[in-house]
Symmetry: C2
Amino acid sequence: MNATILAPIAGLDAFLADAAKLLPTGALLRGEACQPYEADASSCRGQAAAVLLPDDTATVSALMRAAVRHRVRLVPQGNRTGLVGGAVPDGSGRQVVLSLARMRRLRAFDPLNRSAVAEAGMALSELNRLLEPHGLWLPIDVGSDPAIGGLIGANTGGSRLLRHGDVRRNLLGLEIVLADEQGSVLDLLAPLRKRNAGIDLKQLFVGSGGALGVVTAAAWDLKRRDASVLTLLAALPSRAAALDVLDACEQRFGEMLSAFEVMGESALMATLRHFPALRHPLAESAAGCYALVEIASAMPGLDSMLQEQAETLLATLLQRGLLIDAAFGRPDSLWALRDSLPLALAAEGLPLSFDVGLPRSRLPAFHAAAERWLADEHPALRLYDFGHFGDGGCHLIVLLPRECAAGYSPARLAMLKSALYRLVADHGGAFSAEHGVGPLNAAFYRKHTSDAAQELAAGLQRLLDPAAALGRHRYD
Amino acid sequence: MNATILAPIAGLDAFLADAAKLLPTGALLRGEACQPYEADASSCRGQAAAVLLPDDTATVSALMRAAVRHRVRLVPQGNRTGLVGGAVPDGSGRQVVLSLARMRRLRAFDPLNRSAVAEAGMALSELNRLLEPHGLWLPIDVGSDPAIGGLIGANTGGSRLLRHGDVRRNLLGLEIVLADEQGSVLDLLAPLRKRNAGIDLKQLFVGSGGALGVVTAAAWDLKRRDASVLTLLAALPSRAAALDVLDACEQRFGEMLSAFEVMGESALMATLRHFPALRHPLAESAAGCYALVEIASAMPGLDSMLQEQAETLLATLLQRGLLIDAAFGRPDSLWALRDSLPLALAAEGLPLSFDVGLPRSRLPAFHAAAERWLADEHPALRLYDFGHFGDGGCHLIVLLPRECAAGYSPARLAMLKSALYRLVADHGGAFSAEHGVGPLNAAFYRKHTSDAAQELAAGLQRLLDPAAALGRHRYD
């Protein structure tokens, strides 16, 4: 059931007339002014009937009431850092973008409770800038700078999930505007770490991409910032060895292992080719892959102890044949090697990106199977991988050399994608590790989600949004 | 709507006839054999029409189908360690206990992925016993020994939530039997740390007390066991000072602060009176309260460093007037002081227990307000507190001396409870921190949950259990 298809244009006009009354001047955009709000960080682009920029929860509630009454579809939007088009309106010109960009207050900050309440439009970087003088942070570390609402919608993980967990694990509360006739405001913001007093309703809205309600504010369980940090790059003979090295690092450093990012040799070489300012921290070697290892603690004064322990561990790993070479380095210069990869690969050809999650124990076998499959089926294409090996996250890039691109029609590309996601599923993995579900991968949701799960998701959306007034991706 | 009230006895008989065919011999109990399954660790006691003991998921599914068809209410049950009667059948003799006690296999264990899949009837202690040789554990630390299913239903927190989080934070996957006509099995067991591929349906079943589906197995994100541990008891001038000491400990030890338990002076004294084998580790002093502080890491070899750092910190705290005295001690002997409190207080009179959660920054003000209120309104009663100060959890005991008990009718006790929960709410807290919702506190759920939240919870239950075939506590 997709109510917007049936919605008469009259409903949209009447809604916009209502919205104009509810919003301050300049907070309802039409026509060309909507353009910046019609795309995200992916290739996805749509056309909005209008963009609404409310600056408080009461206005969001009133707009929701109007949208439900007039059967108009609202697409909640934050900083447009998404990679699957989940916050981009479709091409019909009838969906309305509900941007939270003007709701960016820090509503509350309680250092002794290590908690803060931030509105949905505040950028992650802004929240962390405000927290820095207090030695606290929200430890979600991603390449982009999503808004709070986007973090919730995507249940963002990032590079330090291994130690700090995903958004859900750092969340204490939410305020949500529901897509019911009243535009009910669900105030679940109490910053409590222990609350087991009925169904934990806020969990419904985490990782649901704005499909079940509009998040207007979130309460966070803040952490103390890292005070001791050690970063190193290790050249490893193989991904199987990487798994053993990961295990050894956890045995030695426990919860202080903060990141364990693995990238293939070819990916690192491509980066060094395209960013001449970056240096290879190790001598040339026949490494199968490289691991960027970060060990960190919020306890100050541990740097030299961590380095000493790491040196001992590296010596043992060398002896066991699990390590080829390793070097300590400044965090920013080592992370630059990893973070520059996507741009470098884009310069080498046409990249097809996959963001998949697997049991980490199966990453080596999965990678080997993917390489074999590509060599057999698409020998002209190249496979690159980098990502969050420590938590099973894997960014896989299949690179089409420019001279091959003509041979790949959209249909052939779709088949290629489909075959690769099949390999992921065969290895117990998920087709989307961090990017969520949107128009760009909705077909794979249908394919790789059981009927029982799809039915329940659809039921939830019908329960929470009976008028289909909300969200870009529909589960029903 | 409560369907069992309308259910004809014929439905129950027909269901039991079906169940007898589905279960192996000895797995359907009637009459007196049901008695052990009719109570939990609270004062709650009910009467079961029967107890079912399936030993696999397929049988649970078949039983659920039959229950939905015959409109019979199943009450899922684990190790009966609950404290609010949430897994105890009511007194009608028409509800049927669905015990998961025979489903206790470890289905999968993947040390390199640090994950395990355990069935719902396995006890927490049993899981940890199996994991110990591998240096891994599920770091939920509670006084009782719940089954896996009970852990999920209650979203158990415990004494080390500060460092390790609650059950939800350590959970990777679930298998659930739904209360639909098919008894659908939702297999969400894949042990993935990064999976953002649609609404995370398993979250619905965590902390919902078995009201939305029957959990049959769970996949866990295991942690490496502590290898360095420091435990100390500190005498503090006041609870306000405890808050500053907590903050100082976090600044010094970061994520290694593993537990910060505070107990009132009077509570500790009562324990020492009733357990003569326990020693006061500190000289007599005019402390307002005591903090049991545990600093721990899975990194080995840190013991002496931690002790050195703690000594420096304690000296600073002493100088700042935040500390009266402190002593390091063996973990088991210090924890015994805290863990013996409930029994000691029960010996002193009639204890009324409250398990509440607050922002930890408000614990001192809340405690002072509760003391003032009790002194004003019930001067003969005494207030004791102990609990998880570091995460805002507070076990409060109002003790009725035996000679006063006669003056407190059930109605007067209910009013007392109600007034105390009002104080909790006034300080931004929740009426149940860890115990969940069951017949013993359902009235407070109604009182302290917003209409919008109650309506959504009811809607979820109607969606997931349209035949009202499941759960002791109903949200609809």
